[in-house]
């Protein structure tokens, strides 16, 4: 298969870790509000953005994700009071660290999406998918066996 053909057939696989209380409800609102967003997104529901361990993100890349999005409540709105404050520190460090070992920053994004922001959820997922379509498939960290 030529590079051009492969690029033509390429459909990004995006894994989104959404917090149960805000972003998952935001995704739900996007659905009930009949807003369309790309079908490339696979949502994993987690209790809180701080539940997401860096292992989850690495594992997603190993098993074929082209980009990973972590979405949580806006700072100050966490259901568990301080979970997303911890997540902000942890993923800020991780994002810079992944860039240091050679993963493009576009492939790992963190967003704050509240339960009422269905349109924002749809817009972000569209934006990430478009960026990854341009960037191409991810081969880094991939477990090829």
């Amino acid at each position: 298969m030529s590079v051009v053909e492969e690029h033509h057939l390429f459909e990004p696989m995006i894994v989104a870790f959404c917090c149960n209380w805000c972003s998952y409800a935001g995704a739900d609102l996007a659905g009930t509000g009949r807003m369309s967003y790309p079908a490339n997104v696979r949502i994993v529901r987690v209790p809180c953005s701080s539940r997401v361990s860096p292992n989850f993100i690495l594992r997603a890349f190993q098993r074929g994700a082209d980009a990973v999005v972590v979405a949580g409540c806006h700072p100050g709105d966490c259901h568990y009071v301080s979970g997303n404050y911890h997540a902000r520190r942890r993923f800020s460090a991780l994002r810079r660290f992944l860039e240091f070992v050679g993963i493009e920053t576009e492939r790992f994004e963190i967003h704050w999406i509240s339960a009422s922001e269905g349109n924002k959820f749809a817009a972000i997922m569209k934006d990430v998918t478009d960026k990854i379509r341009v960037l191409g498939p991810n081969r880094k960290l991939r477990d090829v066996r």
Partner: protein
């Protein structure tokens, strides 16, 4: 050097004789010139086998994790970098300060046997010791004097705490602190393009044989149950593929984020010379930049950056 050795033996003998400690952790000499191994001394008459030479590099504090299960009180000798590691274990609540007696040793740098070998000085070598400002290499019937600065471990060149930060009794006088810039290698890598950097780390990680020496030696790696050993869920597979190596190294370094004392032991023990300090230092540098200066191991009462927060924290991503 000789004076320090006498002090070490004297203190070890006196704490064992008085019953103040029931075990002394020190260093003993192996059969070859570069072998200074951890020694576990329980009898006063064995203290004569303790040694102190420029190869006494193993950090003894991590042996406390096992020894304190069975011993009432342990005395041990800590150099500057070891004391930082001890403080980290203390902060992680893995050792009881009351059960440990620490003799601090100010250390002006230790000698890398590989550098001695590369300089061609190892043939027939009997012993190496510091004398004044010089390093004396003793052979069967002659001696060579060299400038020690070209033989120090890489980690000693950037050492910021040569004098122990925690001790019950200090043996010897404090030495001068004169570290090189420790983030130089990180800065060089940061200048590169992201895919260039990926190729660089790919080359490094592909050499890894997953011997876990870097994990086992690390004073901040003290979990009773390590995720790399778990079989359910099996986070780290057994297959020899690059992806598993990358997973191991990224996770290992990130577990040390905000807790790495930058003692450089991981890179020293690596049998395939992966520059692990660059990974740890990148995290130290970023966390210092983003969330304020924090020097792990220096003040064990202070909270590490990743277990606390401020509502007004900056983020390394676009917040909207």
């Amino acid at each position: 050097m000789k004076a320090m050795l006498q002090k070490i033996r004297k203190e070890a003998a006196s704490v064992l004789a008085s019953g103040e400690a029931d075990l002394v952790l020190g260093w003993g000499k192996g059969p070859l010139w570069w072998q200074s191994y951890p020694a576990f001394i329980e009898e006063e008459k064995e203290t004569g086998s303790l040694t102190w030479d420029p190869f006494c590099v193993p950090n003894l504090s991590k042996y406390l994790l096992e020894e304190l299960w069975v011993k009432q009180k342990v005395a041990l000798f800590l150099k500057g970098c070891d004391a930082l590691g001890f403080n980290q274990l203390l902060q992680d609540k893995r050792v009881d300060r009351e059960k440990v007696l620490i003799f601090g040793i100010p250390c002006s740098g230790l000698i890398d046997p590989q550098k001695v070998e590369r300089a061609g000085l190892h043939q027939g070598l009997h012993s190496v010791e510091h004398q004044g400002g010089e390093l004396v290499f003793s052979y069967k019937d002659d001696q060579k004097k060299e400038d020690p600065s070209s033989f120090y471990y890489d980690k000693c060149l950037t050492c910021r705490h040569p004098n122990p930060v925690v001790f019950d009794m200090m043996l010897g006088d404090a030495v001068a602190v004169n570290p090189q810039e420790r983030f130089a290698a990180v800065g060089e890598l940061e200048k590169q393009d992201v895919s260039e950097r990926y190729r660089y780390w790919e080359r490094q990680f592909s050499r890894c044989i997953r011997c876990f020496a870097c994990r086992n030696v690390c004073p901040a790696c003290s979990c009773r149950e390590c995720i790399f050993d778990l079989t359910d869920p099996r986070w780290l597979g057994k297959a020899n593929v690059l992806s598993e190596n990358q997973f191991y190294h990224i996770t290992r370094a990130f577990h040390m984020a905000g807790r790495c004392v930058d003692c450089g032991e991981c890179a020293r023990v690596c049998p395939v010379d992966i520059p692990l300090t660059s990974l740890n230092r990148k995290l130290i540098k970023d966390l210092n930049e983003l969330y304020g200066e924090y020097d792990a191991g220096v003040e064990p009462e202070k909270e590490p950056p990743l277990i606390t927060f401020n509502p007004g924290d900056p983020a390394a991503f676009l917040e909207s």
